[in-house]
């Protein structure tokens, strides 16, 4: 369009990002973590996942990510001591070497080698199946213990097998004293540990229980430790004088190291939670303290019958003994130690459990939890919706943080102990909030300005209602003297007391601090930010959306029961008004106008307008289709029919199984023809299934379809609804059936706002001929720009809209974008989507794209996500398709449904229940990790270590490494691409 081209300065770089992929960073907790590693020298922690991703974290903002080619789970991660390399073992038995390499002043994570053990020809695969890995402190050797009981020695980083140094099972078995369990099979290598004071000695622990101290130089066994219980882990104490072994029966043993005395008795054996059978202790660690007794930490070992289902790590220090009780399975743990060489007192215990990372401060009394700045479980309760607010005013930001700090008093005051790398990303240009609504009725406020999605504040709405849960039910502390001494830790709590509490829609006005949230049972709460705690009663207003429509019966859940007595609300967002829809169907649309003090809400039955200043309803409109209700069934009929058909199909399957089984039972008695008959019938059924493939009905949409009345979008606008000379406040609603309702609002003058009623009168109704669901409504001003948000102009943050030229109405349906004139609604232009490429609009947002080069130039556009997972940018006001990217896999329905756009061309979507992927379509706003990790100085933490063979021993081996995640790294590109089909 020529008009558009003229506006654009010549040779102007597009503010819309043209690079692929647009993904920039992942927030949250990795889905299905499977391995943990830590480098004390780099101060980096590494997490491997079941999907083959490897993620490194250091100081807040320092993150790296890589993905293995193989779609196999990472089973082990080991940093090479004092190096920037790390080795991963996948469950396909391949080993991978990764490094942090410098590039343009930043570090990047690169895979630099891969290796799979090859055994002698004809050997069974178990011979080379790696079960234990030891990264030797020399930084040059990897010891690989295998299922066959052999230990292979490999030189790294080149992965060169040093065959002559391998420790074969035969070599070891030959020296095992004859009396050791009758020379039975030693089984696989369960553990490999290096002597902390003599790197030439390693202990090899075999599954059967035997441990052998092996001298790498002399290539012979020095000592045999004849444990008889199935081995789980081995720990060599720091002074080198003891070896701890943990076993499958819940016991651990301490063995003296020394001399050649083969018949060394175990010095001490203990089953900490003993008497009754216990589960295995899967890992044990003992660390000394400067003065006083050592710390002993182990995972598992719980009494099998009574607490076998608990996920525990026991910490014992002096008289203190705590069993940290986690809500999900423990993957692994490690301890961070004080001091420059990381050899001082234990300072923090880092535990990776399946759903979160928990860090315990071991130097403060009571061992409080240190709040994690990243890897926070977004899904502590399942995410039900999200809402993003850009450019939060400082005042509101500070108040939210202050409210959040009051909630975090139980956390440790200690700083985050993992501090590796430097975050070189520039400070975020603005403060952004991401609000997530959860199934348990909470809303979490996250700082989404930078790379770390940091929790700021948590709002709970459950207190307004009576729920089954007892509020005094504190699971944290067990009774006095309870054994084991459990202590609940972690915040992952997937159990919701009442699914009706689930938050479905959120709208926050950043200027006024008003927040409205709506939930599954038709509840709409209006909240206000208060810096003081307050005790107040929340009055409920029940709104009948059926408006006397007859023949309709609600068959769903009931309304939530509101507490009638005053409730004490802590500082933060406090509810002051509550609307409850009747029928209590899930709220499907919600919007707030803080200047007019109105909230509009919609469900599958209709929509309403609520004046939260006067606390009364201004408007109720039933959108139920009259022909729909003839069915007398209510809106659940379709759900019911699905259920019914499911039931039928299950019945059919069951019937066929039953008949089959019957035939099997009677097989011997029956004549053969019976079986043949059954087989024939089964075959016929199978054939029928094959003959009736997935098919789709082609039918025009009609007004009789179900759920046409479901309200999909609500919008407030000050525009020209009746004539072209007077603008009035208006409310717009779009339904699933392609209908748009417009109401003219009459607001009393400000001085009478509290006593004169707000009125709404119907002004227009547009029935889109194509009847596709209306997913967005936007009014464009005389310049073709979207109208600003309420109070945006008042706060000088937006240009006031052009009220001279004629306004336009943009209706976005799932199928097309259509611009109408105002006040006379006539079609002006449109852009068809579905008719042309068969994709449908799932998510849409208005975004402002500003140029990264010229500050004063920008364009507004629509950001659209389709059901094919593609992101489109559509220009405004001319509704022209600008760019298109594949963004989310089309099969990832929940990812597509979870997508939320920001006002500046970024977006978030869930890549797993616990992780948001962030993407950016704007060249100006890119949030991505930019960090630097320096190689550790080889000043030598230990005198025992051999000197570096090459010139790298110069004190400033100061490699600058870099990682840019977005554009130019193969790793990153790789990652995003492989997520696609």
């Amino acid at each position: 369009d020529s008009g558009e081209r003229v506006r654009k300065p010549p040779c102007h770089p597009s503010p819309v990002c043209l690079l692929f992929p647009p993904q920039t960073v992942e927030h949250g907790f990795p889905h299905q973590p499977s391995a943990l590693g830590y480098s004390p020298s780099l101060q980096l922690l590494a997490i491997g996942t079941r999907s083959g991703a490897i993620k490194l974290y250091g100081a807040p903002g320092v993150e790296f990510m890589g993905l293995h080619d193989e779609n196999a789970a990472v089973t082990q991660v080991h940093f090479m001591p004092h190096q920037v390399e790390l080795v991963t073992l996948l469950d396909d038995n391949s080993l991978h070497m990764w490094t942090l390499r410098g590039h343009k002043g930043l570090s990047e994570l690169l895979e630099i080698g891969r290796f799979t053990l090859t055994g002698p020809p004809g050997a069974p695969p178990s011979v080379t199946r790696v079960t234990a890995v030891l990264a030797h402190t020399s930084g040059e050797l990897l010891l690989l213990g295998t299922e066959g009981g052999h230990v292979f020695i490999v030189e790294v980083p080149g992965f060169r097998e040093l065959e002559e140094r391998n420790i074969s099972l035969d070599q070891v078995a030959a020296s095992v004293p004859d009396d050791y369990i009758g020379r039975r099979n030693l089984e696989h290598v369960e553990a490999l540990q290096e002597n902390p004071i003599n790197p030439n000695q390693v202990v090899i622990g075999y599954g059967r229980g035997l441990m052998v101290i092996w001298d790498l130089e002399k290539r012979c066994a020095i000592q045999h430790i004849p444990a008889t219980q199935q081995l789980e882990s081995v720990w060599w104490t720091e002074d080198g004088s003891y070896i701890l072994s943990s076993h499958s029966d819940g016991s651990y043993c301490r063995w003296m190291v020394g001399g050649e005395d083969v018949n060394d008795e175990e010095e001490k054996s203990d089953i900490p939670y003993g008497h009754f059978p216990c589960k295995a202790i899967s890992k044990i660690i003992q660390l000394p303290t400067e003065e006083g007794p050592p710390f002993l930490l182990f995972s598992g070992g719980m009494p099998r019958a009574s607490y076998g289902d608990r996920h525990c790590i026991t910490v014992i220090h002096s008289k203190t003994h705590v069993a940290l009780d986690f809500t999900s399975r423990i993957i692994d743990f490690f301890v961070i130690r004080d001091g420059l060489q990381h050899t001082g007192d234990p300072s923090a215990l880092v535990v990776l459990v399946e759903e979160e990372l928990v860090v315990i401060d071991l130097q403060t009394d009571c061992w409080p939890v240190i709040q994690t700045p990243y890897l926070v479980p977004l899904h502590s309760s399942a995410i039900t919706c999200s809402h993003h607010v850009s450019a939060i005013p400082l005042k509101l930001w500070e108040r939210v943080i202050a409210a959040g700090e009051l909630q975090n008093t139980h956390y440790s005051k200690k700083p985050w102990p993992i501090t590796g790398g430097q975050n070189l990303a520039p400070d975020p240009p603005q403060r952004d909030l991401l609000l997530t609504g959860h199934e348990d009725g909470t809303v979490h406020f996250w700082d989404a300005s930078g790379v770390c999605l940091y929790p700021l504040y948590k709002l709970s709405t459950a207190g307004v209602f009576h729920t089954d849960a007892d509020p005094n039910d504190n699971m944290n502390q067990g009774a006095e003297g309870e054994w084991p001494p459990f202590r609940k830790v972690g915040c992952f709590d997937p159990y919701s007391d009442d699914p009706r509490l689930g938050i479905q829609k959120i709208h926050l006005c950043k200027y006024s601090g008003y927040l409205t949230v709506a939930g599954t049972a038709g509840q709409i709460l209006v909240l206000e930010l208060n810096d003081e705690a307050a005790e107040q009663t929340v009055e409920a207003k029940v709104v009948d959306l059926l408006q006397g429509q007859e023949g309709f019966r609600w068959k769903g859940h009931t309304r939530l029961d509101v507490r009638e007595e005053p409730v004490l609300f802590p500082p933060g967002f406090q509810p002051f008004a509550l609307v409850q829809c009747q029928p209590p169907a899930v709220v499907t649309a919600l919007t707030l106008h803080s200047e007019w003090k109105l909230v509009a809400f919609g469900t599958s039955h209709g929509f309403g307008l609520y004046d939260y200043q006067q606390k009364n309803t201004v408007l109720i409109k039933c959108t139920l289709n009259p022909s729909d209700q003839l069915a007398m069934e209510g809106p659940l009929s379709r759900v019911k029919s699905i259920k019914k058909s499911l039931r039928q199909s299950f019945r059919r399957i069951r019937r066929s199984r039953v008949s089959l089984r019957k035939h099997h039972v009677n097989n011997t008695a029956k004549v053969v023809s019976g079986l043949q008959e059954a087989n024939a019938r089964l075959e016929a059924e199978l054939a029928e299934m094959e003959l009736a493939p997935v098919q789709r009905k082609i039918e025009a949409r009609s007004s009789d379809d179900s759920f046409t009345g479901l309200v999909r979008t609500l919008y407030f606008a000050d525009t020209f609804l009746s004539d072209s000379s007077h603008n009035t406040p208006s409310l717009w609603a779009g339904t699933n059936g392609g209908c748009v309702f417009a109401y003219m609002l009459r607001l009393p003058p400000v001085e009478h706002r509290a006593d004169e009623p707000v009125t709404a009168q119907p002004a227009k109704e547009i029935q889109l001929m194509h009847r596709a669901p209306v997913v967005g409504i936007v009014v464009l001003d005389g310049h073709g720009a979207p109208l600003p948000e309420p109070l945006e102009v008042a706060h000088d943050l937006a240009r006031s809209p052009d009220m001279q030229g004629s306004h336009q109405l943009l209706v976005i349906s799932e199928e097309q974008f259509k611009v109408f004139t105002l006040p006379k609604v006539s079609a002006k232009m449109k852009l068809k989507l579905t008719a042309v490429d068969g994709s449908r609009v799932r998510r849409v947002g208005v975004a402002w794209f500003c140029s990264s080069r010229t500050e004063d130039y920008g364009e507004s556009g629509l950001v659209v996500l389709t059901n094919q997972g593609d992101v489109h940018v559509v220009s405004l006001p001319h509704v022209k398709m600008q760019v298109q990217y594949p963004c989310i896999r089309r099969e990832d329905v929940s990812g597509i449904a979870s997508c939320v756009f920001t006002k500046h061309g970024q977006g978030f979507y869930l890549i797993s229940p616990s992780e948001f992927e962030r993407f950016s379509l704007s060249t100006c706003y890119l949030v991505e990790p930019r960090c630097l990790v320096e190689a550790p100085l080889h000043s030598g933490s230990s005198s025992q270590r051999r000197s570096q063979p090459d010139g790298a021993s110069s004190t400033h081996r100061y490699t600058q490494l870099e990682y840019v995640s977005n554009c130019d790294t193969s790793t990153r590109f790789f990652f995003s691409r492989s997520r696609r089909p």
Partner: protein, 402 residues
């Protein structure tokens, strides 16, 4: 939406208001809805009120969809009376000047305003003479047609289904499948979309042009290759008002056979038929004809945008606050038919090459190559007309705003 609802509420009136227009003049009178009488009486009444006793008339009316439909027998006369809500708008033409192409759903959808305005406002301007009349519309509405016979390979069939204004469901299902095609690499098995089921009594079945196991190649000019079943479903539903499907029929025996000699007139139809069997051949032929394969020749892209008639209901200024008049507000609101975007002057050659199946004729007409340029020309010149027409329509009071 609740159109029916409103119709019923206004049906309580026993009188039908009639506004009859002949040339520049119009007459208003009323009829009793319950006793409409016979068509010939009505015809006489019209001649009487317009004082044109000896003029042979062609009577048309605007139905609820805004289509201009003929009144020429008792049945459609009664239909017109019974569906008038509440105004019955009649358009009379001299029979000798009558433009038959103005009638029918399809033609009106595409050119309603042009035709209406031509009929209403400029009855005496030098219009093109109507083209050869294939069949009189009379009681018929087109339900389907085979189009672009002259540019498609004989093995393919492009079917247009006229859903608009019909009660009948489109009535078919599609599925995934695979088809073997001749490609440059030889035979290749490729995924395809097939018709899997026909609903008895549905539009698709009643046309007899589509059948189970026909392979769907295009939807409204867009190839379906590479698209998922759901995408194709959505495309078809989005185009359901005017669905054009190009299929490769499973039964290749009923293909339109072009006579070699006769085809020379259309220039492009005298191809050998053997290569046309393959998809590859189809593409290459289209390429040889130096036009993109997605162009449906007789119905250019603009032509397809007939679903533009969004219904806009303006509420009355006197309406009470909604609290006192809840959901079933019975305010005097009438549907207003927006003039749609795709106004253009009548391009008679376009509709001429569509074959009305109900006419039982299989008269292949040419003029295909001309139609493209024709449309391009009209689409570029139509905008001033459009503005003018819209204004004049408003003046005429066709846009009812209460």
């Amino acid at each position: 939406m609740n159109k029916n609802h409103r119709v019923q509420s206004s049906r309580s009136l026993s009188a039908v208001e009639v506004k009859s227009k002949f040339g520049a003049e119009f007459r208003r009178f009323s009829l009793d809805r319950s006793k409409p009488g016979r068509f010939d009486e009505f015809y006489g009444l019209l001649q009487h009120v317009h004082r044109i006793p000896n003029v042979e008339l062609l009577v048309g009316y605007a139905d609820v969809h805004g289509d201009l439909l003929p009144i020429n027998n008792d049945d459609n006369y009664h239909k017109a009376i019974s569906t008038a809500s509440p105004l019955l708008r009649l358009f009379l033409q001299r029979k000798e000047e009558a433009d038959y192409t103005a009638f029918g759903t399809d033609s009106l959808t595409r050119k309603k305003n042009t035709v209406l305005s031509a009929v209403l406002l400029r009855p005496d301007t030098n219009r093109k003479k109507p083209p050869v009349i294939i069949s009189l519309p009379r009681d018929f509405r087109p339900v389907s047609s085979i189009i672009d016979v002259d540019i498609l390979p004989e093995t393919h069939r492009r079917v247009r289904l006229y859903k608009h204004g019909q009660e009948k469901p489109l009535g078919f299902y599609i599925r995934d499948g695979s088809s073997v095609r001749v490609t440059a690499q030889g035979l290749e098995k490729l995924p395809g979309i097939f018709i899997s089921r026909m609903v008895p009594g549905g539009l698709a079945e009643s046309t007899g042009l589509l059948a189970v196991n026909d392979e769907v190649l295009e939807v409204n000019g867009i190839e379906v290759a590479g698209k998922s079943l759901d995408q194709v479903t959505d495309m078809m539903i989005a185009n359901s008002h005017n669905l054009i499907i190009t299929v490769k029929p499973a039964n290749q025996r009923n293909n339109v056979v072009r006579s070699g000699g006769g085809g020379a007139a259309s220039g492009s139809s005298g191809r050998s038929s053997d290569s046309g069997a393959s998809y590859y051949g189809y593409s290459s032929q289209a390429a040889a004809a130096s036009m993109p394969t997605h162009i449906i020749q007789n119905f250019p892209v603009d032509e397809l945008e007939s679903d533009d008639e969004d219904l806009v209901i303006e509420a009355g200024g006197e309406a009470e606050p909604i609290r006192r008049a809840p959901s079933n507000y019975s305010m005097p609101s009438l549907p207003r038919y927006e003039p749609h975007l795709n106004l253009r002057t009548a391009t008679t050659s376009v509709s001429a090459s569509a074959l009305s199946i109900n006419a039982n004729g299989t008269l292949p007409t040419s003029g295909s190559s001309g139609s493209l340029s024709n449309t391009n020309a009209t689409s570029t010149t139509s905008s001033p007309d459009r503005a003018m027409e819209r204004r004049s329509l408003e003046e005429d009071g066709t846009v009812i705003t209460l």
